[in-house]
């Protein structure tokens, strides 16, 4: 397994979100075992707090699932990582986010987004572009010109990574929006992979898809974690238990519990997690 090549990502102590701000700050200088760290991250819209002081580390080369009932702030959390709230005037973000050692709020949003890929709930390939152009969109949109062989290589490599090559190799020049929903979503994943992001955020990537397409995406996520860190939001607890290595449970804007998936699903520490997992609410 690819995972063994890398340092074991999570230590028990740092998984505990009750750690004080100070103890987090003292650890930042140490070599990154975690690719992403959130410190007291709060997000509000028009003065109303949606996400309240989240402290969380995200393990490298693993799948971390964020689950919680609708409106709990899970999408708000991952959109903060990609600086998507910059686009909304009403959003206020406070706290710190580090990708490796870099402060994500100090860098320019464009730079952050080139390192942090995002796939949205609804598949959104660019309708005016072909399949191949969609894969290369990250380059064209950043004004980087590629040579022909580089383009061909990038398209094939990333469509293969996204398990789409065999279906798409004869349709590279078809418009991206004529594909099926599942294919569109995998195309969106390929588009993010093509710019070699360090972490891939998935915002309920399968909620608009049928079970078969969902299965394909889930298999793909399993395969991809060998090369890339994946942080996904899901409201499907079954999905979280199937494919994630770590699971965070967010409820009413608070990080309630964060642990290895096995532990959360077998011996949840918090009553609310237990109630959520047993379907009592959410």
């Amino acid at each position: 397994m690819g995972q063994n090549k890398f340092p074991k990502p999570i230590k028990k102590a740092s998984l505990n979100n009750n750690l004080s701000h100070r103890s987090y700050a003292s650890k930042i200088a140490s070599p990154p075992k975690y690719i992403l760290r959130a410190e007291d991250l709060s997000v509000g819209f028009s003065g109303k707090t949606v996400l309240n002081k989240i402290n969380m580390d995200v393990a490298e080369y693993a799948v971390t699932a964020i689950m919680g009932p609708s409106g709990c702030g899970k999408s708000t959390f991952i959109r903060a990582i990609n600086r998507m709230h910059d686009l909304d005037d009403k959003a206020t973000v406070s706290g710190k986010l580090y990708l490796r050692k870099d402060d994500l709020f100090a860098a320019s949003a464009m730079e952050v987004r080139r390192r942090v890929g995002m796939v949205f709930q609804k598949p959104n390939p660019f309708p005016s572009m072909t399949v191949a152009e969609n894969v290369l969109a990250g380059y064209t949109l950043n004004g980087i010109s590629l040579k022909r062989h580089e383009k061909e290589q990038l398209v094939e490599e990333n469509l293969q990574k996204a398990a789409l090559w065999s279906e798409m190799k004869d349709r590279l020049h078809d418009r991206g929006n004529f594909l099926s929903g599942g294919q569109q979503q995998r195309l969106c994943i390929a588009r993010s992979l093509a710019i070699k992001v360090e972490i891939l955020l998935l915002d309920e990537p399968t909620s608009a898809l049928d079970p078969l397409a969902t299965l394909k995406i889930e298999n793909l996520i399993q395969k991809l974690k060998k090369e890339i860190t994946i942080l996904m939001v899901t409201h499907n607890t079954g999905q979280a238990s199937r494919i994630s290595d770590y699971t965070a449970f967010i409820y009413l804007g608070e990080l309630i519990e964060y642990n290895k998936t096995k532990k959360i699903f077998t011996v949840p520490k918090d009553k609310r997690t237990e109630r959520y997992l047993s379907g009592k609410f959410g």
Partner: protein, 297 residues
């Protein structure tokens, strides 16, 4: 009434039977008939215009040299002369006016759609709406005062400015409206790949909205090209083909106006022919725009 055949629950069936069915059906038919009658009434003038123009002007167009010769002198023989100078003038105006109005209109439309300074955008919107409803003759007087008088001559240049002023608000408003329809999802997707605002607009939003913007442009072009009032103050008219920016120029609506009110019969014939050509052009342009729009949406 058989309950099973209608498949309605009992209480609703009894409600449906309430009142005088025959009277209600009569009222319904009366209303439909009235709508039909009124719509036919509206179509009659348009159809009449088409018939008269085709009848009076259609034949003239067929004469040799109608498109290649310049306008004839008064009382020349029928069938001599053409509208070449007006056609050239109108074409030049279309090209120059579009070159001015399209970039400005699209830029203004994009700004109105995307800027976060809402109050300023609202006033821009209001400004464009007002400019759109300014009568063309007022636009003409305005351009006459600020361009024609200081330069000391009627010119293609001043006419092109007036032409662009008529086109600009239509393009700006159409762009703003169409660009707002671009789904947030694909704009977000572009930003999520690290694209700048500029690249997002050029590579994602504009290609998506292209058909709508082209449609807006064509509507603006048709409106401007068919408008004659502002030309009286700016282009003035020219019996010869002129390509100079600083010379007066002829244009189709201008020729129609000047020739139709003249006492010379051969000029009146030319005016009918020019009307036919102008109408055919505007109609063609409108049909093309509809086709483009339908293909996209």
């Amino acid at each position: 009434m058989k309950e099973q055949g209608l498949g309605r629950p009992r209480d609703i069936r009894s409600l449906a039977g309430y009142g005088n069915i025959a009277r209600r059906q009569f009222k319904n038919r009366l209303f439909t008939g009235l709508c039909l009658f009124l719509s036919i009434l509206v179509v009659i003038p348009l159809a009449t215009i088409l018939v008269v123009v085709i009848k009076k002007g259609g034949l003239n167009v067929l004469s040799a040299g109608f498109f290649t010769e310049i306008t004839p002198v008064p009382n020349a023989a029928f069938g001599t002369g053409g509208i070449a100078n007006s056609l050239v003038g109108t074409m030049l105006l279309c090209v120059l006016g579009s070159l001015l109005a399209v970039p400005l209109g699209i830029a203004a439309g994009l700004y109105m759609a995307f800027s976060k300074r809402k109050k300023f955008c609202d006033s821009l919107y209001f400004f464009c709406n007002t400019l759109q409803s300014v009568p063309a003759i007022v636009t003409g007087i305005f351009v006459y005062t600020v361009l024609v008088k200081p330069f000391g001559s009627f010119s293609l240049f001043s006419a092109a400015i007036a032409f662009a002023l008529v086109m600009f608000p239509i393009i700006a408003l159409a762009t703003a409206e169409i660009v707002k329809l671009c789904p947030l999802a694909i704009i977000e997707a572009s930003y999520a790949l690290g694209a700048s605002f500029y690249k997002t607009i050029v590579k994602v939003v504009l290609p998506y909205s292209a058909a709508g913007i082209v449609n807006g442009f064509i509507v603006a072009l048709a409106r401007s090209a068919g408008e004659g009032a502002f030309l009286l103050f700016t282009a003035f008219g020219n019996p010869f083909i002129s390509y100079s920016l600083w010379q007066p120029t002829s244009a189709l609506p201008l020729t129609i106006f000047q020739f139709a009110i003249s006492p010379y019969e051969n000029w009146q014939e030319i005016a009918w022919g020019a009307s036919f050509v102008l109408m055919a052009l505007v109609l063609l342009v409108n049909i093309v725009s509809k086709l483009i729009y339908r293909k996209k949406f």
